[in-house]
Every structure is written in C-alpha cells, then in structure tokens.
C-alpha cells in the first residue's frame, strides 16, 4: 500500500455513509465517500441542501433533519467524490469508479458499503407502461425538482412510504384520486404480535397513526385490503384496476404510483461473492456479516439498508458502528473512549430497530404482487421476459436464475437483474416448490455499472 492509500473508502453518501464518514474522522481516519449523485444525502435526504422551499415544507422535519448529517459531514473533513459511479469493489480493497467519463481507482485500507435500498419491484400487468412509477421515484421528483403530479393521482400498494407520500401530496395541495392499499386482515393479525416492541418505539408508531388520520380528514378515497392490482392502458397508463371486497374497480388516471416496500441494494456485496441469505420476513437477500457489518474476515463492512432494511436513523447508527470497528482495527484496539462511544451508538441503534418487526409483518407485500399468476406479466423489464416464460423454463429443467439467462436473456439487460432478480428467484422457488434459498440468485459480476471500453481506456 502506498501513501495515497485511504484509511476508509465509503460507497454511498446516504445516512449510513455520511454518519460512518463523520465518525471515522473523529477517530482520525482519512476518509473518501463515493456517491453517484451530485450532492450528499442519499435518496432519503436527497437535495436536503438544495430543494425548493415548497418541497422542504412538504417533506417535513424528518427530511430536514438530514441537514444535520450533511453539515457534520462537510465539517468532518472527509473527502466527497460526487457523481462517481462505482463499478467494481475488490476483496483486495480497490474501488473502481467512473467520474466524468473516465474510470479511476482508489486503494483503501478498509471499505464500508452503504449503497442503500431500492423500491421492491411491483410486477403486475401494465407496470411497464409510461405513467407508472414508484412512489419513492415520485418523492425523488419532489426532492430533486420540486415536481408534483399535475392531475389527481392514484397511489397503490403498501408500506410506510406510500402513506408518507400521500400525506406529503395532500400538504402540497395535490389531489389524491385514491389510495389503494393491499394490507389484509391477516397482515394486521400477524403484526399484532410485534406491537408491544413497536410501542417502545412509540414516536415512530404515532407518526404512522397521524398519517392515516390525515388521509381520513382529507376524505381521500381509501380502498383497504385491495387485491389483484393491475394497470390498464395501451401506450401509457390509463387506469388502475383492482378487486376490493369481491368487486372489481377501475380508476381512471394517467399517473399510477406503486410501492410495496424497499429492499437492500446488494449489487456490490453480491459481486464480492459474500454469502447472502434469504430473509423470510423481509423477502429479500441479506448479506451475511458480523455484528459490526463486517463481511467474513475482509476489511469490508456493510452498513444501513444495503445490509437489511432498517430505515434512515438506524442506518446512520450502523454506519457509526462500522466506523468504530474499523478505527479499532486500524489503530490501537483497546481505547476506552471508543468502547463508551460504541455503547452509546448501540443503544441508539436498538431504539430505532424496535418498530421494524412490526412494520415487516404489517406491510409484507402480497404473494400475488411478487409472483404474478398472470403469464403475460413482464418480469424482466429490460429483455421483456414474462412470468409465463419463466415458468416454462422451469418445466423444461431450469433450476435457478442464472439458467434463465441462457433460456431467454432474462436478467441480462442494462439493469443487470436489479428489477427482476427477486421476482425470478421467487417465481422459480414457487414453481419448484422449494425455498428461495435453494434457488439462489443471479451471479453478479463487475462491472456493476455499465462502462464503455473508451471510459476504461481513459
């Protein structure tokens, strides 16, 4: 390792990455943070220092709180490399990234992966039509461009973000044509088991209750326990259809915002061949790490939602925890100040995790919206492979996601399986009647972002 080796390179400038960087600086480590966006904040605090006044007032104080993280980060003296697309992370602690059309490399002594979450794919009929977007995507439009729907909009699916966006739209004066949520009676019953723990994190719970009250106060038509969601339209979305209490409904709209939770963005940890386990509660892959987020005996750690969905506040604490662990490894391990700091961070982390089991049980996405029964539903959006085709592949002997590539290019388009991977795993598991763990996932290889030969050549 030469003089330009950086103590800690962090991938992702969201809450986990920013908090990790700031923490590591307090222990004297040299830190560089790589992020794809032009400014820090990740997706949750995106544009927190640049958004419009209207956007800020609508997004509320939880969003504004992100400015504390970005400010502390700026003051920490950590280096921020903005607009950097990381396309490779190696076990030898090199990080390759694209910046301004040129590929560059950093050598690290340790790495924290904090690549966050993405919205869970919502494979239903018509989800590929223009005019259908994620609710999270629509919220990014508020943060980045102060953009709100021009006409009354329909929100459908489940999860806290769906309600949060609905309430934010109401505050902005946007008309909600309907909120169609898929939380069933069984979900409430399952969630009740976790209510006592969630009550300990009562502030979070109260926020949720207030959101639901606001929808009621504004007389938004809410269809509770809806099923069989689909989008109708020829070249663009024209209506959202669903069944509610045994009756079919179609609501005309040119903009449908879908959401059924978020899942870890595991592209980098998968490309490192770290072991990943299927989570039956989060319904996604979770990288195997120790308590601090460390992958095996590497000096590579994972923090925040890319390690398993925990939310912004817990993500920041996980970032701090990983930074403390790294400082202990790179410096004298037994410093007592660090142990005390670690205990504080762990206490905060526990507090913010209390509501998670309740949320996971309550907003578990429906099987029918993860594994579409309709053969015609497009699963791989890039290569336009349908659910029916994947079931056919299984019939003729396809055992796992990697073989679907050979059968029909499934997962081989530009998104590299990000938008179909979970669906393909679950569809094959369902068809074979085995667990997703047995079926496995795509083999993810670098470059994990598209790189041209010209960019590689510099």
């Amino acid at each position: 390792m030469n003089a330009s080796t950086i103590d800690l390179v962090i991938v992702g400038a969201g809450p986990a990455g920013l908090a990790a960087a700031t923490e590591a600086r307090t222990w004297g480590l040299s830190v560089a943070v790589l992020d794809e966006q032009p400014a820090t904040g990740g997706q949750i605090y995106r544009g927190v220092d640049t958004s419009t006044a209207k956007a800020r007032s609508v997004l509320g104080e939880d969003y504004a709180a992100g400015a504390l993280l970005t400010k502390a980060f700026v003051q920490s003296g950590a280096r921020h490399i903005a607009g950097a697309s990381v396309w490779n992370v190696s076990r030898d602690l090199t990080v390759n990234y694209l910046l301004d059309g040129v590929s560059r490399v950093l050598q690290a002594r340790s790495i924290i992966l904090a690549s966050g979450a993405m919205e869970r794919p919502f494979p239903v009929p018509g989800w590929t039509l223009p005019g259908v977007m994620g609710a999270g995507a629509a919220q990014i439009l508020i943060k980045n461009a102060g953009a709100f729907p021009s006409d009354p909009v329909v929100l459908a699916g489940c999860g806290p973000l769906l309600y949060l966006l609905a309430v934010q739209y109401l505050q902005a004066g946007v008309k909600l044509k309907a909120v169609v949520h898929t939380t069933q009676r069984a979900d409430y019953l399952r969630a009740m088991r976790y209510l006592p723990a969630a009550l300990l994190g009562w502030q979070d719970l109260r926020k949720g209750m207030r959101m639901l009250q606001q929808l009621r106060r504004h007389n938004v038509p809410v269809y509770a326990g809806a099923e069989a969601i689909s989008v109708k339209g020829k070249d663009r979305a024209e209506a959202l259809c669903f069944t509610h209490k045994g009756r079919e409904h179609c609501i005309e709209t040119s903009l449908v915002l879908l959401h059924q939770g978020v899942v870890p963005n595991t592209q980098i940890s998968l490309s490192l061949r770290a072991k990943h386990n299927w989570s039956d509660t989060q319904l996604c892959w979770l990288p195997e790490t120790d308590d601090y987020g460390q992958i095996e005996d590497t000096r590579i750690y994972i923090a925040g939602d890319s390690r398993g969905i925990v939310g912004a506040k817990a993500s920041a604490e996980q970032g701090r925890l990983a930074a403390i662990a790294i400082a202990s490894k790179l410096q004298s391990p037994g410093e007592s100040g660090r142990k005390a700091r670690e205990n504080l961070v762990r206490a905060e982390l526990r507090k913010h995790l209390r509501i998670r089991p309740f949320l996971e049980a309550m907003y578990r996405p429906m099987a029918a919206h993860r594994m579409p029964a309709d053969d015609a539903v497009v699963v791989c959006r890039c290569e336009e492979v349908t659910a029916g085709q994947i079931r056919k592949y299984v019939e003729v002997g396809c055992h796992g996601p990697n073989q679907t590539k050979a059968f029909g290019r499934c997962g081989m388009g530009p998104c590299q399986g990000r938008l179909c991977g979970l669906t393909v795993t679950e569809l094959i598991a369902q068809a074979r009647d085995v667990s997703p763990q047995v079926v496995g996932y795509y083999r993810i290889r670098p470059p994990i972002k598209p790189v041209t030969l010209g960019e590689l050549a510099g």
Binding site: Q43, T50, T128, L129, G131, A137, G146, A147, R236
Partner: protein
C-alpha cells in the same frame, strides 16, 4: 411510434418554479426546451410532458422513468451523441442535445451535425 416530439399528453408532473431563478436551455429531439437548472434530465423531460423516453430493443414497447434513482435503466436516452445515458443520473446542462433511444442503442455514434441519422 409517436410522431410528435414530446408525446401527446399533458405533463404528468409540474413544478411551481417561481422561486427558481436559474434555468437552462437544452434540445430534445431538435426542439428547444427551457428547464429548471440543477434538476436531472429525467425530471426536466417529465416536467415537459415527454413520454415515452425510449422504446425497448425487443418489442419497441414505450418506456419512461420508473425508479428515478439509477437502478431500473428505463430512462435511457441519447445525450450529446452518446447512447444509453441514464437520464435520472444526469444533471441538465445548457446546450445539451437529447434524443429518444429507439430500440437497440446505436452501435455507431453519429457524427456531429448528423442529427437525423439513427
């Protein structure tokens, strides 16, 4: 394929941008558009009512941004002659030349001034 430049519908999103003093001018399919500075190409085109952004290589199906955060690759457009740019990860710049990506991305990058070649 739609023959009109932006698509026929009114914009799905709008922004009351009175407070934004800065704007930039770019070209989309040869048409000059004035858009807010600092936003992504994807946001700018959505605010202008552009739909679709591209058509798929397999069935020429129309597509538009889905995730807005760089994971779905549905917003691929051609920027300044370079194919397959993620509109949601690209910030608008004065004088940018943007085109829809129709079908498979171009293997040959068109020469400058060769605007109609695809």
């Amino acid at each position: 394929m739609p023959t009109e430049t932006k698509g026929s519908a009114s914009p799905l999103f709008s922004s009351d941008d009175a407070e934004r003093s800065c704007s930039v001018t770019l070209q989309f399919e040869g048409e000059t558009l004035t858009v807010p500075a600092g936003v992504t190409v994807a946001a700018a085109l959505l605010l202008q009512g552009v739909a679709p952004f591209r058509t798929t290589p397999v069935t020429s199906a129309p597509r538009a941004p889905y995730c807005m955060m760089g994971v779905c690759f549905e917003c691929l457009v051609e920027v300044d002659g370079k194919p397959s740019r993620q509109a949601c990860l690209t910030t608008v710049r004065d004088g940018m030349l943007i085109k829809r990506q129709l079908g498979a991305s171009a293997l040959v990058i068109p020469e400058e001034g060769d605007e109609n070649e695809r």
